[in-house]
Symmetry: C2
Subunit: 325 residues, 2 copies
DNA sequence: GCCGCTTACGCCATTCGTAAGGATC
DNA sequence: GATCCTTACGAATGGCGTAAGCGGC
């Protein structure tokens, strides 16, 4: 059994059982992979992949178990490499962050500018995508961290830690009737307007739907986008009122818009950071986490990383008051 | 990085940093190991082993971490092989049990005779040794199961499950004054006699010492041995009274001795079965466990195997009443 | 008929064993 | 001086790439 063989079967699965595509992604030849997969199967005496003629059609029951263990082995191999780097070049390395537009644009800039100042030799990469893509990237090991508000819980091999709570604001043009509102905003004020907000599955959208549903209201959503910048653009066009994360209002750039606090109308959402369970984290990674969420010290993160169930991890934070943005 | 390289560094550590001895045990050449260790160190850019001239003197800090992860990787590799076997030859394989004389001689025979009848194709090996040796064998992967009463808790990478409680008996020759005793045995009856019992660290010896210490008594221990058969021999010689596990009295063979129940004088001891955390257990292994301890069903064992802390595992059994032997 | 996996073959890298060298205790 | 690790070298093995074959869709 060779580590490459394990790598190959994992990657073949990641490439939807297409060996040719796998070969391209790994910059190697297709027959090479094919042969190694076969050799592994011969050695183990079992089929990892089911075949119809010469096509791979599915993963066998035994194959699923083997691939799962292979992933864990390869993750530990990466940990060994990381340990070695940590002992030779503690301030050098890579940091891959997978996150959504909202975080990348509004929550992370301050953290990152401070971080790269302290660690100029760490090459930092941001991968933007949907919450699902983000979780998958972290789960596969393509990203060290996943930062998002939704969908992270779907991947059980991630450790997820709460970072901060955030609330929503309703944004309107200065000439909009609601801009002159003297009293507290009500859910009806919003429900009677055409709404521009996030796509489902993004940036706490589910909390928004829940608030309307709780009142038996059917919001009139005319337009959705994955990020607040696009939403603001269409609010400026007069398409409707926007509902976005409060932190997405920029006091300097958005002077033509008025933000009305709506934290009393919608439950706060929680942004989380996730990484692979049992992963070895470089010292600069611990520091990154703590810069993003000061309560997540190295000790807390290490403790959480030893727990297997997300439920147990969540218990660590029941008495912690998170910052609100 | 190759799996063999990881195997080599682990084995070199197991052989007290003696590469030549390691080579012998692995049936390979010493320079081969030496070179692979070096190549791994070169690839990682760190030293795993500290050297003084050409002798390996110690494991570096980084090396400790690397070796720990290597062990975990190799354990998972074994799991993959076990999964493969389970899918091809479910009733074939090996079962290595490391245990003490007491278990092998008095607790296991019934279980094993039933087991080999159902699984004639499983080759069963018993490794006898001290509790420490047993734990180490299981921890290293040389044994699938460790069964003992003491010392298992010293190895944190083992899952330990309670199997049964057992009590002690005082044994004397038929012509001994205590053999005629009409009342309940007291701790003083025992303390005033020369005692023959187990060596420290064996078969619940610590519980025995505790009971005397609690009464401020200093037992007069004249002879110790690791097994009850030897103890009985010296009781027969008139060396003193024996204190042994009650199950170690054989009604048919030991007719020249009298056993006096002492369960009220000493706390019961608990025999446990241990295996490596996260190990994949063959179906016949689950069955073996359950034959030995009926309350340890496959489901219970699997659940325990998912927990990281022994404390959490122990909690699974607080409401379970174990059999008493 | 195209796509995609398998087989065949040759080159190159790597591993392993033997033998000799050098350092430590 | 004995033990033990390192270096050197040759044989065998194995991985990988190119080219051809062949079975599905």
């Amino acid at each position: 059994m060779k580590l490459q063989q394990l790598r190959y079967i994992v990657e073949v699965l990641n490439n939807n059982l297409n060996v040719s595509a796998t070969a391209e992604n790994l910059y190697t030849s297709q027959p090479g992979i094919s042969k190694q997969v076969r050799m592994l199967e011969d050695e183990l005496g079992i089929q990892v992949f089911g075949r119809s003629g010469k096509h791979l059609t599915h993963v066998t029951a035994a194959g699923k178990e083997v691939i799962e263990l292979s992933k864990q082995i390869l993750a530990k191999v990466e940990s060994i490499k990381a340990i070695a780097k940590e002992h030779t070049l503690p301030d050098q390395g890579k940091l891959n962050i997978a996150t959504t537009h909202t975080q990348a644009r509004y929550a992370l800039p301050n953290v990152i500018s401070g971080f790269i100042q302290k660690y100029p030799k760490v090459s930092l990469h941001m991968h933007q995508g949907s919450p699902q893509q983000i979780s998958e990237a972290a789960s596969r090991g393509d990203a060290d961290f996943a930062i998002a508000t939704e969908a992270l819980h779907l991947y059980s091999d991630l450790v997820m830690l709460p970072c901060y709570h955030w609330n929503r604001s309703v944004i309107v043009r200065k000439d909009h009737p609601l801009a002159q509102l003297k009293r507290l905003l009500t859910i009806n004020d919003v429900a009677t307007q055409p709404i521009v907000t996030y796509v489902f599955g993004f940036t706490g959208r589910s909390e928004l739907d829940k608030a309307f549903a709780a009142q038996g209201l059917e919001p009139h959503i005319v337009f959705t986008a994955t990020d607040a910048d696009v939403i603001k653009t269409y609010v400026r066009l007069g398409l409707g009122v926007g509902v976005i994360a409060s932190m997405a209002m920029d006091a300097e750039l958005d002077t033509d818009l008025v933000a009305i606090d709506a934290s009393h109308l919608f439950d706060a959402s929680t942004t989380k950071i996730g990484f692979r369970k049992g992963a070895f984290l470089r010292s600069y990674m611990y520091e990154f986490i703590q810069r993003f969420a000061p309560h997540l010290t190295k000790e807390v993160v290490e403790q959480a990383n030893l727990l297997r169930n997300q439920d147990d991890i969540d218990k660590l934070f029941v008495n912690v008051t998170l910052p609100v943005r």
